[in-house]
Symmetry: C2
Subunit: 324 residues, 2 copies
């Protein structure tokens, strides 16, 4: 890879990837519609002559096609990631994820760019029948529009590999944590504790078990795997990796880490039920044997990742002003 195109370049993971690639001497074109992205995350990158930012939306195919010209690898990270609120605006996942991914593929095809890395999700396994869940788990039933849109993205990408000789790296993420974290339970909990340190509302019964991965470890994994270039010779031109760790944490563990770090003892108020919201999965734990088999390793535990996230939120409370 020499010139890399990143959709969602101003987002949490996207901007961190931009910085890593620039630090590695690559040329990067960032693309973002700033629906959730933050200019502040690109402050450093914008000073680098190897970085170009183009403001635009994935639904604008001509502009996307133009912006992508001359790149040789696309990281397609832009997505509506409001998993919880899919049912409030069912068309959003279809447009921002499914149609957007189709446009990314068409823009690539128009530019004869054939390598793509895609951020999918462990949610595609629904309520998995096998835990820890491997990449070839039994064909699941989708439980959220978000996951349905991601599985559609995966399917279209794979079809382009088969039909147009693309090479794809599909990464099924657990929840990603770390600096520039802009949504998720730590974000919500810390906000609540800023507003009312004496009590904390928790969705569900607190027993939900989830996996988390530190953002720098996530990016290292993607770059490591793409560097190995195995999709070229993979069946159908597609490599699929779960990205997570061999740990998971209960929501209650997470509450303990956060309150401990802040020195708070709030009253815990549970909304009840074993799910945080409709379509939530009470236990997400992905098998990571395949990604670990490539030689990649995590550097932080979940507890350490939560610590870093919290520290960043404490130092960057401006984020709560922009994400309302």
């Amino acid at each position: 890879m020499q010139k890399v195109f990143i959709t969602g370049a101003a987002g949490f993971i996207g901007s961190t990837l931009v910085d890593r690639l620039l630090a590695g001497g690559k040329t990067v074109v960032g693309w973002d519609n700033f629906s959730a992205g933050q200019w502040k995350f690109l402050e450093g990158a914008l000073k680098n002559p190897n970085f170009k930012l183009v403001e635009g939306d994935n639904l604008d195919l001509p502009a996307l096609t133009k912006a992508m010209a001359g790149c040789d690898l696309v990281f397609h990270l832009a997505a509506n990631a409001d998993v919880r609120f899919g049912l409030e605006h069912p068309g959003k996942d279809l447009q921002q994820n499914t149609v957007a991914t189709f446009n990314v593929l068409e823009a690539m095809r128009a530019n004869a760019i054939r390598r793509i890395a895609f951020s999918s999700t462990g949610s595609v396994y629904g309520e998995a029948a096998v835990i820890p869940t491997p990449e070839d788990a039994p064909f699941p039933i989708q439980t959220s529009l978000y996951a349905a849109s991601k599985i559609c993205g995966e399917g279209m990408i794979s079809s382009y590999c088969e039909g147009f000789k693309f090479e794809a790296y599909i990464f099924r993420f657990v929840s990603i944590l770390g600096e520039r974290y802009t949504h998720g339970h730590i974000f919500d909990f810390y906000k609540q504790l800023l507003d009312h340190p004496d009590h904390l509302k928790i969705l569900g019964d607190g027993l939900q078990r989830k996996s988390y991965l530190y953002v720098q470890d996530c990016i290292s994994a993607m770059l490591h795997v793409i560097g190995q270039g195995t999709a070229k010779s993979a069946k159908h031109g597609v490599e699929i990796y779960n990205l997570g760790t061999d740990e998971y944490a209960q929501v209650n563990d997470s509450v303990g880490f956060i309150c401990g770090a802040l020195g708070l003892k709030p009253k815990l108020e549970y909304s009840g039920g074993n799910r945080g919201w409709v379509g939530d999965n009470p236990f997400i734990f992905l098998a990571t044997k395949k990604i670990q088999g490539t030689g990649w390793k995590t550097t932080l535990t979940i507890e350490q990742g939560i610590g870093r996230t919290l520290q960043w939120l404490q130092q960057n409370q401006w984020i709560y002003e922009t994400r309302k």
Copy 2:
């Protein structure tokens, strides 16, 4: 079910379903954009006072919503079914299948209709790792845009079950044969033999193995399963069934049946390779244990189904004028 809405009502399977439901005393609203549907298939139905036809496209959500009013079950059969030509117009599956299915779900939601039956495809298993392929086969890689759009449809439907308490019956069809058959290999072969009885061009090496099901058996299976009403109590409100038989046939077997029935001995010209086209699967054979476990049985063998199809094509050569 009392008043049934059918998308693709003028198609091969749709119009056959219309006739069966009317014969069973149901009220039926048919919906079709006539991109592939045939007025002639509805000649009988249109004489029945319990049938109403509305001409419209699934991409026109307001019209679709209006047409669906008062129905209590939707068969969503309309689709772009040109599996082979997906790569020539990659946006067609996205629009006619993915976005169309979303619109069907939204129209249902607006009308408080919660029961849906969906025609998916055995192609969603890609090049299946397990054959015969059960409904819970290992998570496959999609190899065609058609299958990717169907898996997206399945995912959105399942999400509506989880989120909006829909009940869904998802049927993964093998190739369907019989009266009113309007595309597929028998259609192509017979057309060729009408044009030039002395030679026959065959895509691939003729060794591709595929499963087939007779259209009336397909419809019996759907009505049988929906009659049992098990989706209501199924996990996530979704029942998924493979629809096929415990037989498969090689393309060469099929050539033999057809030429035998027509009394022809054409020279066979193979295009070569083990696939008929890019993204084709050389072996499709679905496990049918689940559907057979409901008590449903096929009435025709594959050979008999091919015979019926051929007989119908011989008597209805007008179909070749309308499907060019």
